[in-house]
Amino acid sequence: MSDRYLNLVNSAPGKAVASKLGLPRPAVLRRYQVGAPVLPGPALVHGAGLAGVVKDLEVDVRESDDGNTRWAALLYDATDAAAIDDLATLRDFFAGALRRLGPSGRVVVLGRSPAGTDPVVDATRQALDGIVRSLAKELRAGATANLVLVEGDASPESTLRFLLSGRSAYVDGQVIRVGPGAAPPDPARPLEGKIALVTGAARGIGAAIADVLARDGAHVVVADLPAAGEGLAQVANRIGGTTLQLDIAQPGAPATLLGHLGERHGGVDIVVHNAGITRDKLLANMKPEHWDSVLAVNLDAQLRINTALLGSTVLHDGARVVCLASTSGIAGNRGQTNYAASKAGIIGMVRSYAPAFAKREGTINAIAPGFIDTEMTHAMPMATREVARRINSLQQAGLPIDVAETAAWLVSPSAGGVNAQVIRVCGQSMVGA
């Protein structure tokens, strides 16, 4: 379903009326196209080291502001910030250039995690969090602001490529930690030769993830319930992948899954746990079967499959796992105690598994989508849907492709330094910190 309001306020008369009345004016977001440059224009960068990294992304990097240039991105390296006064330098940098940040512009600040040694340093470092989150709310015309916390001399290149490009269109107000880990450069098809499994891939977000992983070069095994097989076959035939009709909640599912991946594909490099169900009821009215089925499919199945993978050679070293959480699991949602339990549980699960995956040079991360336009959200009442669409900094719903692009970044070889993270793809939704 198209966002009629977004289309209206982006037409000439609609724009004039919305502007006069002070109505929200969601922008048409810049989204990634194959072969598109990382940024459509020049970037103003503070910090020589950071400037070097961004230049490697084939971006037109300037280190001083001439007062006229329209910037596609503003980047600031605050990894050395150690005192309150250092923040003023940051304010000066942005205050001058922000008004000339172009549509779907990018603000990225590099910082460090508080280390627990010096209160002044930690206060300064933590302050960056407040600055970036607030700035993200001030930006207009589809621009986003995100904070990247770099550990030691880890390379932020992969994360910067993602954040600056159209792939991160709906990722806003996020804090991403980059640690040590493999970070080879990204070729044009970063997933070439990889075997990927996507569950719940017959439609919606799962189908979009399968599309993008295949676009980036992976052979995708798409899995879904036997009853969803018709759509699943269409997805597989569209992307040159293969189908696996399987109920992941069945006791024998991990063995079936591992057997299939081992025998047919010699193992697996990428697993995206996307399959999930909702059975919304107020807790007072919640039937045991509604509770049990949601936790079985959304959480227990992932736990059993991940444990089986870790204990098997079917999972290749350097594997990447992405688990779909939800902003409901972060902020809570009325009528979703069961669903939020499963999605919050995924966040706990990802953090707990991360060291085990890291030991095998792998990563495991969670994506928490906010309001994404899918068949599921189309079923909502119109008024509720319209409100839900607007209560985020980008004033619009995300698209399945936005979640898919984030997943594709997290599973790419170059993102080895991103582990145990929860990336929200929510346009900086008002709900869910």
Binding site: G229, E230, L232
Partner: protein, 424 residues
């Protein structure tokens, strides 16, 4: 010339629907194409050029002269994959399997797909035969006068269209009426037929519940299981149905008119291994027989009795006894057909007089018969039944890991197609 065994790699079908049900507006080409696409998706055959695709339909529009080739062109297979149509009534699906398997065995092709499809909902309705003759005469007429004269042959009664009938052209009897004669001759009881039907439903339901069909069936038009399946079928419920053919055959122990399509992927072991695909079973041998149901004996030459003659010839050639099998897949056109077939093999006089055997073939272990259900529960889209049975048996043999299975399918025109498969 040395031969090699054709491997059954897997199969795919759409759930079978009852006539005028969910597939009422789907054509044979729609159903065969989607069944092919499900197979392609399962085994990653997108853009592959296969040796051939052989399939067919019993009820076919004249415009569908190249049904299988058109379905291939509409599928995700390479457009350079050749295809042809086969029609051997209900034996079509197994006959195409044997055709493809034989070409593989002879080294002519490395891999191919066999299949079949049928719709009775989207049946071809032809012009009234008299009207057709008049119109052809008009077309042939050279002058205005001749045309007017030819048009003079038009009559109101010719508006009645010609609808395909489920009847044998040479006897005018429907298949059910023929089967009822055979059932009566062999003394097949109503109770025995109902019992077979209940077991068929129970077995098919259990197979679905156990996930057996997860990699054999792809849903179509929101149908996820065979529509005819009644997991709660019981002898009490079946006993309430009124006979429709003879005194014992009811809608409960006869197959309903159905829509559906099935496909089977066959290849050499090497072709499968190169693609890391499994080999479920090998096609060992096949045999086809026919009976003279028009002039023959009412008891021994029934319309659907041809497999009774085909199986002993196949056993003889392969030096096997009827008891040397772990699975028997006997197509349940009617419960009475299966029971008449088994009765004939146990009948010493029949086996001696008609099959030339000193000893009867004997009884089979009924617990090995149609263990995951058959046509009474699944439904029976004529040409699609063979593919359903071949894929089901191949997977049964694969799960068991050893053993041998016998397939027996009766067909209109007094024909029967039978085959042996072995676990890989």
């Amino acid at each position: 010339m040395s031969t090699r065994r054709a491997a059954v790699v897997g199969g795919n079908r759409i759930p079978f629907a009852r006539a005028d049900g969910p597939y009422a507006h789907a054509s044979n080409q729609d159903m065969l194409t989607v069944a092919l696409d499900g197979l392609i998706a399962r085994f990653g055959l997108q853009d592959e050029r296969l040796g051939e695709v052989a399939a067919g339909a019993v009820l076919k529009h004249s415009r569908d002269f190249n049904l299988t080739r058109e379905s291939v062109l509409g599928s995700r297979l390479a457009a350079t994959t050749p295809a042809y149509d086969v029609q051997q009534a209900c034996g079509t699906g197994l006959e195409t399997t044997l055709l493809v398997a034989n070409k593989i065995a002879l080294g002519q092709i490395e891999a191919g797909i066999a299949g079949g499809v049928d719709t009775v909902s989207d049946a071809p309705i032809a012009l009234n035969e008299d009207l057709r003759q008049v119109l052809l005469d008009v077309n042939r007429a050279r002058s205005v006068g001749a045309r007017v004269k030819a048009l003079g042959g038009l009559r109101p009664g010719q508006l009645k269209p010609s609808i395909p009938r489920n009847a044998e052209p040479r006897t005018g009897l429907s298949m059910g009426e023929h089967a009822a004669i055979t059932a009566l001759e062999w003394g097949i009881t109503r109770e025995a037929q109902d019992e077979l039907a209940v077991v068929s439903h129970r077995n098919l339901a259990a197979a679905y519940d156990g996930g057996f069909f997860s990699d054999l069936v792809t849903p179509f038009l929101k149908l996820t299981r065979d529509q005819n399946l009644r997991p709660d079928s019981s002898l009490e419920k079946l006993a309430k149905l009124k006979p429709v053919f003879g005194d014992t055959m009811t809608p409960g122990n006869s197959t309903p008119l159905s829509d559906g399509a099935s496909t089977v992927l066959l290849a050499t072991d090497e072709w499968a291994a190169q693609r890391s695909l499994p080999v479920w079973a090998h096609v060992v041998d096949g045999e086809t027989a026919a009976v003279d149901y028009v002039h023959g004996d009412r008891r021994a030459d029934g319309l659907l009795m041809a497999p009774v003659y085909a199986v002993p010839r196949l056993l003889e050639r392969n030096k096997l006894s009827l008891q040397d099998f772990d699975f028997y897949e006997i197509h349940e056109a009617f419960a009475s057909t299966v029971l008449s077939t088994l009765a004939a093999w146990e009948d010493a006089a029949f086996c001696r007089d008609r099959l030339g055997l000193a000893e009867p073939l004997g009884a089979i272990d009924r617990s090995r018969l149609n263990v995951n259900g058959s046509s009474l529960a699944a439904g029976h889209p004529f040409a699609a039944t063979g593919g359903r049975i071949v894929a089901t048996l191949a997977k049964l043999l694969h799960e068991k890991g050893s053993g041998r299975g016998l397939i027996s399918i009766c067909a209109a025109g007094g024909q029967g197609v039978v085959a042996i498969m072995e676990a890989a």
